[in-house]
């Protein structure tokens, strides 16, 4: 666990989570959620859990993103808060 790399990854993760909750355009929020998910996968690589990391990268940045976009296109793209 390299101290500085871990600290940067965790900071970007928290900031991406807060930005995803603050955005009113839901498609932009989904892209920010993908950034969050990729940071989680990178932190897992840094912690030595490589099998969990590539599952999280495939699932978080691929499958969940596609699910999110399909759900948003079937419903509404704007959020009130």
């Amino acid at each position: 666990m390299h101290w500085l790399i871990e600290f940067t990854l965790f900071t970007v993760m928290i900031v991406a989570a807060l930005v995803a909750l603050g955005l009113r355009n839901l498609l932009a929020a989904v892209v920010t959620l993908n950034i969050f998910s990729f940071m989680v996968a990178s932190t897992m690589v840094s912690l030595g859990a490589i099998d969990v990391a590539f599952t999280e990268a495939v699932v978080g940045a691929g499958a969940v993103g596609v699910f999110n976009i399909v759900a948003i296109l079937l419903t509404s793209r704007k959020s009130l808060d």
């Binding site: 989570a17 929020a29 030595g48 999280e56 959020s79 009130l80 808060d81």
Partner: protein, 136 residues
């Protein structure tokens, strides 16, 4: 004055070493709190689902951080390290459990998206107060 400095150091040094040792847990606590806030306070149902995914990620990361050992390598057999000393490898059991938890997280997300699409087709909104109004 020196007594004051000693007291100050006596408080500061353990605090800094605590943060250096456990900062990952503090970050994950913040992430869990953000997710809880989003699930309880946000009005849009998509934002609530995002909060749920934050909570799931925080829980999974908690296990991965707890499984970390200093001076240990990944759980793949390496010829020079041998198999005599298991302290040289990380513990693979929490990793395997969290692999299952990630798959379950995807299933819960898919189910909640299906429910959201059904709600939108019936009530034409995802905003919670408006939804409760239209359900009357």
């Amino acid at each position: 004055m020196t007594e004051l400095m000693e007291n100050y150091n006596g408080f500061l040094v353990p605090a800094i070493s605590f943060i250096q040792g456990y900062y990952a847990y503090l970050f994950l606590l913040a992430l869990f709190t953000i997710g809880l806030y989003a699930m309880m306070m946000k009005r849009n149902l998509m934002k609530k689902i995002m909060g749920m995914s934050f909570i799931q990620s925080a829980t999974i990361m908690f296990w991965i951080v707890a499984a970390y050992k200093e001076d240990a390598t990944v759980t793949v057999y390496h010829q020079p390290l041998g198999l005599e000393n298991p302290d040289l490898y990380l513990n693979p059991l929490p990793h395997t459990l969290m692999l299952t938890a990630i798959v379950v997280a995807v299933v819960t997300l898919g189910l909640s998206f299906a429910l959201i699409v059904a709600i939108y087709r019936r009530y034409q909104t995802l905003d919670e107060p408006l939804l409760l109004e239209r359900m009357q």
